[in-house]
């Protein structure tokens, strides 16, 4: 999701820290302060005796505080299990609480210390942190028991939340709470040998929120209730980049329940006593738009311009021209050579289309500004809010709720819908809570799509049919362009090429000439579950099958040989596992055709074999066998859930996903025109986890990008034809 944050802020230099800090506090340089210090200044978050991640109650129950939002990925279960393992807690008495916004306490170590969830990093950036927190608290309880019982600490055992000694003495965490809280936490507590784990990696690590999410009791932003709550809806411009020219609120103001109409930077907001009145009020608004600076091209024109750049029909501009992202050997040779496979791929804009459209509750004008919503990137949301209300970012309070999906949409460098809500709440003032509600149409037409992407690939092969030269051109909008100081992507936006860059196939090719160009387009774009891999995995994996077919080789054997050349051991392991579990060496069930694909993203390697057939000319996907190497598996059940869900999300886009624009106006608005995968179209996913003792790696995103090429490769075998544009099924 926000891999870019991950990549770019991972190791901020001192200068960048100062630049960010200076930007935030109005120009005064805070020498000697870390980003965490700067961004948490003004925060009132308090930390208990057991640190920012753990709380214990007198009844012995344990609360693990999650710095990451839960919007489906199951990370709350995994995070709690990491701490519970080191604590030797009773898993049935462990619950999870969402952390407040505070970059110093809850920064993501993969995002340069800003607080945020994304890049499939929740588990792996917390691994050592939560193990340490659990082990430290455990040591404090052991020491307290040793003092109370006058026995050596080394003789005390902890299991299932109970401390015991051979003498027969025993106590729970609650019994020793006061004594343990007074003990200084060890700075470097001894962590368990993973071989002795009793919880991690077992089927006992299950979700903690299934009950509240099966009874309607879970609270999402849309569900926030306050006695004096107002609901706002905003009339947005039909074209990106347009501004309000004038508006007439007379009719809207007459709707019963409408209390105010305000112009804000993104449009005109109708504020009402309830959702329906806000909606009726907005319907009655008359707004004229200034489209002088609007993007007025259609998506077909935008794609055509990308294709012309890739083919050379249009010369690249001097500024912002082609930039190499991978090169090896003599580039001129990559353009030459006969009998090349030359192919071009097109990918459309994609909406995230979370089940819960974007929304937010803000209170401005009385005490500290307070936000209540599903915040995926609290620090960014604090920074962007602080700029509007003129306060320290750290003073902006955020209560993070469950969110009804994100897939990247809720982590936005501009905090688009959040700042929209803050602007409205500021106009309302007095600290009165304002809930901004976007309809499905608002959400789908608001932009921040996975960008249109075009790839042109030209590959020549050696006598054995393996790639000898590989010329690759990628044309896409930059997701990271316009990021704050110290966070911009530079010449190469990594989110545009990740997955092509680093591909074992390129490593195995003697001559590589791979370049990227990022034209400006006025349609806002954003990371979308698995980000660059949404297209690079497809291009690399479908190209490889076409090359294997030309070479007359089996796609699994062909890949394996290239992985051997590239030294891609983990790829080989998941490929072998998936081939074995899918029965690759034996024929597919009657009527089905198999396709294989493998891709590494967010530190994990996923291989899939999909069984596909054509029904009424449309692809149907049945069994999908998945193998994943994600390092240490914390919750096998939730890893499987993410493979199931990620596969559906990827398949939905591959088969049906497409946002188009006509003359700058988005054509789709709801699920009747933006088709998504439905229940009967979902494949049956089997997940096999490669045993590993490495630290855990990503799970939320790596399951998404592999199904597309696996299906395309099955169709290639079935029909003999490649599939060079998505979606497969045109509206």
């Amino acid at each position: 999701m926000n891999k870019p944050l991950t990549d770019i802020v991972r190791a901020p230099t001192r200068r960048q820290a100062l630049v960010v800090g200076a930007t935030l506090v109005g120009g005064s340089l805070l020498v000697g302060c870390s980003i965490g210090d700067i961004l948490s200044a003004g925060s009132r978050v308090e930390v208990g005796a057991f640190g920012p991640f753990l709380k214990f109650a007198a009844d012995g129950s344990v609360t693990v505080i999650s710095k990451h939002i839960e919007f489906g990925q199951g990370n709350h279960a995994g995070l709690a299990a990491i701490a519970a393992e080191e604590l030797d807690a009773d898993w049935s008495r462990v619950s999870v609480e969402q952390a407040a916004a505070n970059a110093k306490l809850y920064g993501n170590t993969m995002m340069g210390g800003t607080q945020g969830t994304g890049g499939s990093s929740a588990i792996f950036n917390s691994w050592t942190q939560l193990r340490t927190a659990g082990a430290a608290a455990r040591a404090m309880f052991v020491q307290a028991a040793a003092a109370k019982w006058s026995v050596p600490a080394a003789e005390i055992k902890v299991a299932n939340g109970v401390l015991s000694h051979a003498s027969g003495k025993q106590a729970g965490f609650g019994d020793l709470l006061d004594e343990a809280a007074r003990i200084t936490p060890p700075e470097a507590p001894v962590l368990k040998d993973p071989k002795t784990f009793t919880l991690i990696g077992t089927d006992r690590v299950r979700r903690k929120d299934s009950r509240v999410k099966s009874t309607g009791a879970a609270t999402y932003t849309l569900d926030v209730k306050r006695p004096d709550l107002l609901v706002a809806m905003v009339a947005h411009a039909p074209k990106f980049g347009a501004k309000v020219k004038s508006f007439d609120a007379a009719a809207a103001s007459k709707i019963a329940g409408v209390v105010a109409v305000h112009e804000i930077p993104t449009g005109v907001a109708v504020v009402a006593e309830n959702t329906w009145a806000a909606r009726q009020g907005r319907e009655a608004l008359k707004v004229e738009w200034d489209e002088a600076k609007a993007e007025t091209r259609g998506s077909a024109q935008i794609l055509a311009s990308f294709r012309d750049l890739a083919s050379g029909k249009t010369a690249a501009p001097e500024k912002g021209g082609w930039k190499p992202f991978d090169s090896r050997g003599d580039a001129a040779k990559a353009a030459a050579g006969s009998n090349a496979l030359e192919i071009a791929y097109d990918f459309p804009y994609l909406a995230h289309a979370t089940m819960e459209p974007m929304n937010c509750v803000a209170m401005v004008g009385k005490g500290p500004t307070r936000l209540v919503f599903g915040s995926q990137a609290p620090t960014m949301d604090q920074i962007n809010t602080a700029g509007i209300v003129k306060a320290l970012p750290g003073s902006i309070q955020i209560e993070t709720l469950f969110a009804g999906g994100s897939f990247g949409r809720r982590a936005n460098l501009k905090s688009d819908y959040v700042t929209e809500c803050v602007h409205i709440a500021r106009k309302v003032g007095g600290g009165r809570p304002v809930k901004l509600v976007w309809t499905r149409e608002d959400d789908m037409r608001a932009g921040y799509y996975r960008p249109i992407v075009h790839h042109t690939v030209r590959v020549t092969t050696d006598a054995q049919g393996f790639p000898a030269t590989w010329r690759h051109r990628v044309v896409t909008q930059s997701i990271m362009k316009g990021a704050p100081p110290g966070m911009s992507g530079g010449d190469i936006d990594p989110t545009a090429v990740e997955g092509a860059l680093g591909s074992p196939y390129l490593k195995a090719t003697p001559i590589v000439d791979a370049q990227l160009i990022m034209p400006d387009v006025g349609v806002p774009v954003l990371w979308w579950r698995s980000v660059g891999a949404t297209h690079t995995a497809y291009v690399m994996e479908h190209t490889i099958d076409q090359l294997a077919r030309r070479a007359g080789k089996d796609p699994v054997a062909y890949r394996r040989a290239l992985y051997e050349k590239a030294g891609a051991r983990r790829h080989i392991a998941v490929l072998d596992l998936v081939a074995e579990k899918a029965g690759w060496s034996s024929p597919a069930p009657a009527g089905w055709t198999r396709g294989v694909a493998v891709h590494e993203s967010f530190g994990s390697v996923v291989a899939q074999v999909a069984e596909v057939k054509l029904e009424n000319g449309q692809p149907r996907v049945g069994r999908v066998v998945t193998a994943i190497d994600c390092g240490t598996a914390i919750s096998p059940d939730q890893i499987a859930a993410q493979m199931e869900g990620g596969t559906c999300y990827g398949l939905s886009a591959t088969l049906y996903g497409e946002i188009t624009l006509t003359d700058g106006v988005v054509d789709q608005g709801n699920f009747d025109t933006y088709r998504v995968l439905r229940n009967s179209e979902a494949p049956t996913v089997e997940t096999h986890i490669l045993p590993s003792t490495n630290p855990p790696t990503g799970v939320g995103e790596p399951g998404t990008p592999v199904i597309g090429p696996a299906v395309a490769n099955a169709l290639l075998t079935l029909t003999g034809k490649p599939t060079l544009s998505q979606p497969f099924v045109k509206a």
Binding site: F71, G72, Q73, G74, R206, R207, D209, S210, R211, V212, K213, S214, T215, G216, A217, A218, T219, Y220, L222, D223, K225, A256, G257, N274, T275, W276, A277, A353, T354, M355, E356, P357, F402, A403, G404, G405, S406, F407, V437, T439, R440, D637, A641, E644, G645, G646, T647, C648, Y649, S652, N670, F671, D672, V676, R678, N679, S680, A682, P683, T684
Partner: protein
């Protein structure tokens, strides 16, 4: 305009404008927020409730059209309905936002077809979108619940 609707076995007075969809009456006026807004045009199923035992999209039903019909929402299932237990047992929810609607559609299905085959599950559940893609577990949980004692029609209980 004050009117009375029967929700989860209780007659409740509501004052929302007559054209207000039942969804927003349930959520904004009655505080029953388990029923979700997802699309507003009966495409996604997140707002599914039972109307006299039938699964209906509350976003498309004006409150004035409810009349004497008995409405059952996710809150009216009581929290330990066999489908809810199956949902918990199999950890069906991911983000969870669509699950109230999924469960209500499944309740209506099992009330009519206690042992549904795959085709019946598809017919009943294809109107409920899950963007997290929990479909495989939704199907499994319906089968899990269907394998247990017969599921009573909920509206009859009220």
């Amino acid at each position: 305009m004050a009117t009375t609707v029967d929700v989860n076995g209780r007659p409740l007075n509501v004052n929302s404008a007559p054209d207000t969809p039942l969804l927003w009456v349930l959520r904004d006026e009655l505080g029953l927020t388990g029923t979700k807004y997802g699309c507003g045009v009966a495409q996604c199923g997140a707002c599914t409730v039972l109307v006299d035992g039938q699964a209906m999209r509350s976003c498309q039903m004006p409150v004035s059209a409810v009349g004497a019909a008995k409405i059952t929402t996710i809150e009216g299932l009581g929290g330990t309905h066999p489908l809810q237990e199956a949902w918990v047992k199999l950890d069906v929810p991911q983000c969870g936002y669509c699950q109230s609607g999924q469960i209500m559609s499944a309740v209506a299905l099992l009330a009519q077809t206690p042992k549904p085959d795959d085709a019946a599950i598809s017919a009943a559940m294809d109107g409920n979108i899950c963007r997290c893609g929990a479909y495989q577990r939704i199907r499994a949980a319906i089968k899990e619940a269907a394998a247990g004692p017969a599921v009573q029609p909920v509206a009859a209980k009220a």
